[in-house]
Amino acid sequence: MPEEKVRILIAKPGLDGHDRGAKIIARALKEAGFEVIYTGLHQTPEQIVNAAIQEDVDAIGLSILSGAHNTLMPAVIKLLREKGADDIIVFGGGIIPDDDIPFLKSQGVAEIFTPGTPVSETIEWVKKHVKPRHKRK
């Protein structure tokens, strides 16, 4: 049986339109062999969580460059919990000051990638930490 592909949702919560990073990560993950779904811009946390459940993804990558990460990332995680889908791993990237990272991790964000991170580093992290959900149990 061929190895099951890990599915990842790359999502852009909030109102900012800076999607250069999200698209580069989406494309790089796809080329690295993952199944990637991209939400497009201007998504609410509800839309993202619904898409994640509907698409049965194993992880969500959130890209935020508007400064609203402390609000939006925890909102996504809270909704995942409410819908019993908190085994979906959440990671994030964008303009995120180091000082905010401990808070985001305490809220359940698995990893934060800040500006200048090589794409290869993000891919390695995903390879290591994200496995198909139903095999994890």
Partner: protein, 557 residues
């Protein structure tokens, strides 16, 4: 044998007898040298490369067609460029204080940065605005905020640039009414609204309505300005966001000029006389790290626009041929690592803008990969411009690089390659069709991805990121926007909603809704009317959405 032939022969000899043996002993650092946009660069340029250059046809004199050397006869010997730092954060109260500070520091024009909810037409009390109010710009919901924003700033004395697109008509209406309340008539105010929706679909992605109704609103703004606000720059046709999204220099040039062509084409088809609006179109470019490529891009842009306006659109007023442009240094070139290095990057980029003949300039601050800049960081950025202006001697002569074999050749190459893109888009049926097909978007994505791969492979170097990396803690202070500003702004908005005459607001919105259905109506008077009654930005946007619908991200990657 003429000069060029002699040089050609001599160069061949030099290559064989001098260069090649030298390289065999001392190999070059790279197999292929190219710009940051991956445009190949030769080891040397000579008169041979510009043998076809006709000085009067291709360059001419500053202030004369085709304006390659500059749009004004004496350029910076007369007036320096406008030093215009983009600023805004928190509520109108905080930003008003920053404006007073910047004006005291010698800044000569204002530039408003709005927060994401304002840019997207969402009020501060809307759930979608949560966490974003006042974060990356100032929050403006109603005329009351705009009154506070410009408190104590005489609008007949400063010019103001507002980076606003889909809701541009509304923010501009607020500005007109604030001026009116200060006793300044609309024909005395000056400034710029970005108001360039095409690049939103292509790159910046802050759209609201679909392209057709968006173009109609822009038509209404342009028509209203030519009659009532003649000193206003109605569209700032922007390459900046295209470049920041990852395009090459040529793509930035080509897509921006193609957007310009699309606007002029549309307005003239709508019956506007080209000379009635073209002098108020302006442009906005990025100044990236590849110094000469940028200078060539600016020079090519001026020449191309002049040809297009004169030859294609038959504009008669020479002011219609001029490409006036604002430049901002490249935000995407800044690094979070070793942030002090960003001061140097910005200085190099600012130099290219000045050598390229910009009319105004924003220099980024070193801390902007982290957050909005602190006052100290902004001051260094402004001082960078002032040092170039007053100490470097660069503004003493016009277009000092004109005539350089390399610069002239590169200017020609930028232009040729940009025309190839423009012709391709014309063949597709124009920019709106190309956007629908996702063409410019995909070209930019591919360029961004290509560059990222080059960085990862070490083919392109970013100091502090893939070379000379050190372990460090961020050594600079970061501006924190207090979270209670969102609460404060919501309270301000609630108070406005309590104090205004709601019946009049409702009536104004009803009239606007009706006008939106009639394509021949100009929406501006209706929007001004609604703004005057303290209708919120979100209320006006939602009213227009009922008529126009919404645009959704095609989301390809």
């Amino acid at each position: 044998m003429d000069d060029i032939e002699r040089i050609k022969k001599a160069k061949k000899e030099w290559e064989e007898k001098i260069l090649k043996p030298h390289i065999e002993k001392h190999p070059e650092r790279m197999e292929r040298f190219s710009t940051i946009s991956d445009h190949e660069i030769k080891e040397i340029y000579t008169p041979e490369d510009i043998a076809d250059l006709d000085y009067m046809r291709d360059l001419g004199f500053p202030g004369e067609y085709p304006f390659t050397r500059g749009i004004y006869p004496n350029m910076y010997r007369g007036r320096l460029w406008t030093m215009r730092q983009f600023a805004g954060f928190g509520t109108a109260v905080e930003t008003n204080q920053r404006y007073h500070y910047l004006l005291q520091q010698g800044q000569t024009g204002l530039s408003v940065a709005f927060d994401m909810p304002t840019i997207m037409g969402v009020d501060s009390d809307d759930p979608r605005a949560t966490g974003e109010v006042g974060k990356c710009g100032v929050a403006i919901d109603t005329l009351a905020d705009m009154e506070t924003l410009f408190k104590g700033i005489p609008l007949d004395k400063v010019t103001t640039s507002m980076t606003i697109n889909a809701p541009a008509a509304i923010l501009w209406a607020m500005y007109i009414v604030v001026a009116e309340k200060q006793g300044v008539p609309s024909n005395k105010i000056g400034g710029t609204i970005q108001n360039d929706i095409l690049k939103e679909y292509i790159a910046q992605k802050s759209w609201i309505y679909p392209p057709e109704p968006s173009m109609r609103i822009i038509r209404d703004i342009v028509a209203y300005a030519s009659e009532h606000v003649p000193r206003w720059n109605t569209i700032s046709i922007s390459g900046y966001h295209i470049r920041e999204a990852g395009s090459t220099a040529v793509q930035e040039l080509a897509f921006t000029i193609m957007d310009g062509i699309s606007y002029v084409d549309y307005f003239t088809r709508e019956g506007l006389d080209v000379d009635s609006f073209a002098p108020r179109l302006s442009f906005f470019f990025d100044a990236h790290m590849d110094f000469f490529e940028e200078i060539a891009k600016f020079r090519a842009a001026r020449r191309m626009w002049a040809k297009i306006m004169k030859e294609r659109f038959k504009a008669k007023n020479p002011a219609s041929w001029l490409m006036r442009f604002h430049t901002q240094t490249a935000g995407c070139s800044l690094t979070a690592q070793q942030p002090y290095n960003n001061i140097i990057r910005t200085a190099i980029e600012a130099l290219s803008a000045v050598l390229g003949g910009t009319q105004s300039l924003h220099t980024n601050s070193m801390d902007e990969t982290y957050a909005l800049p602190t006052e100290e960081a902004v001051t260094i950025a402004l001082r960078t411009q002032q040092i170039i202006a007053y100490e470097s001697g660069i503004p003493n002569t016009i277009d000092p690089l004109g005539g350089s074999y390399f610069i002239e050749k590169l200017t020609n190459e930028m232009e040729e390659k940009a025309w190839e893109y423009i012709n391709k888009i014309e063949e597709m049926g124009g920019m709106l069709r190309a956007i629908e097909l996702g063409y410019p978007q995909k070209e930019i994505q591919d360029a961004a991805y290509h560059y990222q791969l080059q960085v990862e492979k070490g083919e392109k170097i970013i100091v502090g990121v893939n070379k000379y990396v050190i372990d460090e803690d961020v050594p600079i202070p970061i501006l924190k926007i207090p979270d209670d500003l969102e609460k404060k702004q919501k309270e301000r908005l609630a108070k406005v909603k309590r104090d205004r005459n709601n019946a009049k607001v409702k009536e104004a919105l009803k009239l606007l809704r009706e006008a939106a259905e009639d394509y021949s109506e100009n929406l501006m008077p209706y929007i001004i009317n609604a703004v005057r009654e303290y209708a919120t930005e979100g209320e006006i946007i939602n009213t227009l959405k009922e008529a126009f619908g919404e645009y959704r991200d095609p989301a390809y990657f």
